[in-house]
């Protein structure tokens, strides 16, 4: 609710600068990665866990596809194997966190650095180019990223599917239960470890999937890109969207809208010609503002329910 309000407010306020397709699409370009990573991240935040490596996974996945394809693996197979690899990264994050009782903050921080290092070593710090499909204008190129709106459509579709999973399936209830009361969920028979591991897998998988789309969109891979730049915005998107980091509550649609909001800010300020440095101040202000509004909103609901 609050996020939608904020979203509308910002859109109206910045409206005149956003009327042409070009700037809207470039805003969506900024927003896509944040929203995509944010949507997966919400699952973990609801579990009272975190995945700091999701941004790096987003960058790593297309590299795996690129390397495999370069070695002669057919493109479809290369994509599927890359997705399997990042899913395995998620599984490793989950297994270490759950079985060794390492806080996921630490586990995924480590994974983040390892993946970054792998890219630097394997790429010899040379750019990855050309990315398959990125120069074509065929149907599959369009679908996989070169279409103006393809990335954001992917992210929107993921948001919708994952929202259904989160709200309407047993897995969703188990995530809320595990994050809301870990011991209680285990006592009630929820397989808390399995739930956590699958959430890590999903978060990695979704980040990797949109990572591939993003690489096709831009056509080159830069080994110097650092995932932390992405993950912090993605977590910002979650928070703006109304997900607390305390576990048990969260909204995927909120993370999507939060990501869009950050994208609009980033693009809008560039467009108006305001120094991009100011962008960071805005993002910070919006995060704090959204948090405050959400807390107030919760209080209001509590009061209206008479508690």
């Amino acid at each position: 609710m609050i996020t939608i309000g904020l979203f509308v407010y910002f859109t109206i306020k910045a409206g005149s600068n956003f009327t042409d397709t070009l700037s809207l699409s470039s805003a969506a370009g900024y927003a896509g990665p944040y929203a995509a990573i944010g949507v997966g991240e919400v699952l973990l935040l609801v579990l009272a866990e975190i995945d700091l490596s999701a941004g790096q996974v987003f960058l790593f996945c297309p590299w795996v596809m690129y390397w495999l394809h370069g070695d002669g693996v057919p493109l479809l197979a290369a994509i599927l194997i890359a997705l399997l690899v990042v899913s395995a990264v998620g599984a490793i994050n989950g297994l270490i966190t759950v079985l060794l009782n390492v806080p996921s903050f630490v586990t995924t921080l480590a994974t983040n650095f390892i993946l970054y290092g792998l890219v630097l070593v394997e790429s010899n710090q040379l750019q990855g180019s050309p990315i398959p499909l990125s120069s074509g204008s065929g149907f599959w190129s369009k679908v996989m990223g070169t279409g103006t709106w393809s990335e954001i459509i992917w992210v929107a579709a993921i948001t919708i599917v994952m929202t259904v999973v989160f709200k309407r399936t047993r897995f969703g209830v188990r995530i809320i239960a595990t994050g809301g009361n870990l011991v209680g969920a285990a006592e009630a028979g929820v397989p808390i470890r399995r739930v956590k591991i699958w959430a890590f897998v999903l978060c990695s998988f979704l980040s990797g999937l949109v990572g591939i789309v993003d690489s096709v969109k831009y056509g080159t891979l830069d080994p110097g890109n650092f995932g932390v730049d992405y993950i912090l915005y993605a977590i910002g998107a979650c928070v703006i969207g109304g997900t607390a980091l305390t576990g048990g509550r969260g909204t995927l649609l909120g993370a999507f809208i939060g990501g869009i909001l950050i994208g609009i800010l980033q693009d809008g300020l560039t467009l108006i010609g305001v120094s991009t440095n100011v962008f960071f101040i805005y993002v910070g202000a919006v995060i704090i503002g959204a948090m405050a509004v959400n807390v107030q909103f919760d209080r209001l609901i509590a009061r209206s329910r008479g508690t």
């Binding site: 239960a177 209680g184 006592e187 397989p191 508690t307």
Partner: protein, 271 residues
């Protein structure tokens, strides 16, 4: 011990034990909580378990329901040795538990909590929740057993302590089909609600389907509910009495003298 005396309060409570523990031990680090628990629960029986705070009652229950695994000793379900690796595994054998901490999820609604671990799903492996059906059944069931909550869609966070407890008990009672373990099910309840839960448990016991272990610090409740009472002291079951053969006074007396004996043993051991 007079274990073979017929149980006039509950005629079905005889025959081979449905659940049996032999020499169960459990330690948490250096703290040995259970030092060889021997316990048997007969079909249709309500067995009371008493003991001081920290005696290990909850620990025992958590072993019986698969939450903890024992260090030593064995468990028999209907004469067959079993070892549960999870709460799910125990549940699959018809064992349900009300935990002392209730195990409710504050962010889930009444009906979601009621069906937690027993969700009704559809579309096969996709496990889509059948929320409509769960809401309906939750409403009907809570009405039937006279538990009042603002709404089945209220989050557990917004319920009173007693309401929460009623939901936790209702969840287990509804699902239990062989054994029900109740760890202080009346702790947060007022007189009316206590009566309600006591009647619910009594009805269940009278049906003869389910055997029940109940932990409570209130002797009056236990004497009303139970066929038999076990006392836990020093990590063992020290007293085992059918309720119709004993009284609150005698039980208290036995507990005190048993403590005295233990103390003397400790002193002699130390001398």
């Amino acid at each position: 011990m007079s274990t073979d005396v017929p149980q006039p309060t509950n005629p079905v409570a005889n025959g081979k034990p449905v659940l049996e523990a032999r020499g169960l031990t459990k330690s948490f680090g250096a703290l040995q909580v259970l030092r060889g628990i021997d316990l048997s629960l007969r079909p249709g029986e309500v067995l009371g378990l008493v003991g001081d705070n920290g005696a290990g009652k909850s620990t025992l229950v958590k072993i019986l329901c698969g939450f903890h695994s024992q260090d030593g000793g064995e468990m028999l379900l209907e004469g067959k040795q079993v070892r549960f690796n999870s709460v799910e595994a125990a549940r699959a054998h018809g064992i349900e538990t009300v935990y002392q901490d209730l195990a409710l999820i504050p962010q889930l609604t009444v009906y979601q909590n009621l069906f937690l671990g027993h969700e009704l799903t559809m579309l096969g492996p996709l496990r889509f929740l059948n929320n409509r059906q769960m809401r309906k059944l939750a409403r009907e069931y809570l009405d039937e057993i006279n538990v009042h909550v603002p709404s089945v869609d209220a989050e557990a966070e917004r319920l009173s302590g007693g309401q929460r407890q009623a939901i936790a008990v209702a969840r287990a009672v509804r699902a239990a089909n062989k054994i029900l373990l109740l760890d202080e099910p009346l702790a947060a309840m007022g007189a009316r609600e206590s009566r309600l839960i006591i009647n619910l448990v009594k009805d269940l016991a009278a049906s003869g389907r389910v055997s029940i272990i109940v932990i409570d610090h209130n002797y009056a409740h236990l004497f009303e509910l139970c066929d038999r009472v076990n006392v836990m002291q020093g990590g063992k079951i020290t007293i085992d009495r059918p309720v119709h053969e004993t009284s609150i006074e005698e039980l208290t007396e036995l507990m005190v003298s048993s403590y005295r004996r233990q103390l003397e043993q400790v002193r002699e051991g130390g001398a």
